[in-house]
Symmetry: C2
Subunit: 367 residues, 2 copies
């Protein structure tokens, strides 16, 4: 049933990347962005791989996005134009960024005057300049200043602070809980809030050269927001059950699959696979929280009902077929990004070629 | 409020281990086991550290437990008596185990004739012998043969197969969803099922030299089960909010804490810490699923209400105090084992000593 038979030396669980699907996903977004004159700045948190980042850059991406400074230090080797989409405030993180800014364009999204001061101080000590984007909350309620007025005040603080440069606005329209057809009104509100903010900035003589938005669920709606200059999707390169069940892609667009071995069938109506939370994470599927812990490609009626650290308990009662102990199955995870972060290497599969190991270069760069 | 001020070079998030609490936890279980003539075979999945495994052995543990073969390969360097509490069935995993069995005592818990055959074949090829424990399900419903009769049949299969050795029975009484006072009747059923199985084996001339049970929640009830010869708790060395809220230990017994930095307070009644699912995991607290994603020591009324990969959103509305952006706080995770697996190193803290880095040697050994 699966191409990864137990006769191969592949040990399980193993994260296998389908090369053709990766190439297609990268190309599709690149074509979309080119058509609409949007810059793509892919979020490398998904793959954490220099090699895949290079592929995205070769396909036309203009710079990269990272979440943590450790990721920036890794990705510096493939791009000299990085955005840290994460508020850096502590002295250690700020001075490492300020060091990077001596030899690359480093931008950081922030939402507090404390962050402006911390980054400016670090940049002053390093003799560098850090570009800042004002993080504006557009409905996710995680980070970001709340109002156009607050965005103006923070922009003015940046403008009057040495060693930092006001480059624009960042927002995170990551409305994955909305179906594609429900996104339109939510994204219209995003556009309106950005418009009000930009207009207010303009009246005070401030310019946003960069207006950065985009996430995988809303990526292909980005052209409807006239203000965006760039988008930062990450998951799109692989996709997962979040994007499938959210209606943003098909199963055939999922490039990353976990090859597992069935290790037990002792409990009636159940099999156990050798992938638990240390492989698949405990992340639920956001658009379908009761759909289990991933999708088994060869047994669509199976349901991964519970995970412990190294066990996946699969309810087979709705399936008319059962794998035997020792058989291999492939699982599409609910959320691919943290799964990649759990393995030291993935396996790259070109059609009819042997599997090639691919390091997860920025794995575990927590700081 | 926290001893890990932002003036130290510690980058956050950082997993810090309190040496005094670790020593006390290890000592307490060792004393209990000595008193009741039980062997402790600690499950190293929790810490994945050679150094901490050595500490447990020095305190009297007799051998170690691992979940995956990669962990066994790491722990081989500190003990020559290992139990893989996990069914090995695929050829790769079995032959790696058979190799290890050439120079150490290797035992594996299995629940299928397929596993017996696979391990025997690998051991035959390597010229080694692997000890087997029959995995008996005692109520968790994850792995394990279902009945004393099935346990007998599997034992007879082992007995008649070359290169494997029948060593006994393994069960997993991991009843963490029961409060300590509710465990008694459940554990009496465990004892009864083990007793029936052992009696049946005896009538057929089979002996279980090892009867392996125990998990952290039920560890201190083990003496009430007259059949157990050894216990395999893992979490007890650190503890976490699962064991606290389950009533199995106090907050003061939690040795592992994540030091975080507050990175945003832009959203009303909320702060954001720099630890999300890539640090704390998405694991809920089993005894209290609505208690949030961990416990903030310095702000007990705060509730970590949502995590994304690198953000922890903390609801501060019930707290009369608020940390400022840049302040550090310490979090006790819901489930410590997968958190340790997310970091390359922890920090060991002896009182009044500088922090010492401690490698997570078996991290990411998925296979």
């Amino acid at each position: 049933m699966t191409p990864y038979s137990s006769a191969t030396p592949l040990t399980t669980p193993a994260l296998v990347l389908d090369a053709a699907i990766v190439h297609r996903n990268v190309r599709r977004l690149a074509d979309y962005a080119a058509k609409h004159h949007l810059r793509i700045r892919p979020h490398t948190k998904t793959h954490k791989s220099r090699w895949l980042a290079r592929m995205q850059l070769d396909a036309g991406a203009g710079g990269l996005t990272v979440a943590k400074v450790g990721e920036a230090e890794v990705m510096m080797t493939v791009s000299d134009d990085l955005l840290l989409a994460y508020p850096a405030v502590d002295p250690v993180r700020c001075s490492r960024l300020a060091e990077l800014a001596k030899s690359a364009t480093i931008r950081v999204a922030i939402d507090s005057a404390i962050a402006v001061a911390a980054l400016a101080q670090a940049a002053q000590q390093a003799g560098s300049t850090i570009g800042l984007l004002v993080d504006l909350d557009v409905g996710v309620g995680r980070t970001g200043v709340q109002s156009p007025r607050a965005a103006l005040e923070l922009a003015q603080t940046i403008q009057s602070t040495p060693n930092v440069r006001l480059d624009g606005i960042l927002c995170y329209p990551g409305h994955i809980w909305l179906k594609p057809e429900e996104q339109r009104p939510a994204l219209e509100l995003v556009g309106a809030k950005l418009g009000t903010t930009l207009e207010l900035w303009g009246r005070h003589g401030l310019e946003a050269k960069i207006v950065s938005g985009g996430s995988t669920p809303t990526a292909y709606q980005s052209h409807q927001n006239q203000h965006l200059t760039e988008i930062r999707p990450g998951t799109y390169i692989f996709n997962d059950m979040n994007t499938v069940r959210g209606g943003f892609c098909a199963l055939e667009d999922c490039a990353a699959r976990v090859v597992c071995t069935v290790v037990s069938d002792a409990v009636p109506n159940q099999i156990v696979i050798d992938a638990g939370t240390k492989t698949l994470t405990s992340d639920r599927c956001i658009p379908a929280p009761d759909s289990g812990h991933g999708y088994i490609v060869e047994y669509p009626a199976a349901r991964i009902k519970a995970l412990s650290e190294e066990h996946g308990q699969v309810d087979m009662s709705a399936s008319d077929r059962r794998p035997r102990v020792g058989e291999r199955v492939t699982v599409i995870p609910n959320h691919i990004c943290p799964c990649v972060n759990l393995t030291d290497r993935c396996w790259w599969q070109e059609a009819n070629e042997p599997l090639v190991p691919l390091g997860v270069d920025a794995r575990g760069r927590l700081s």
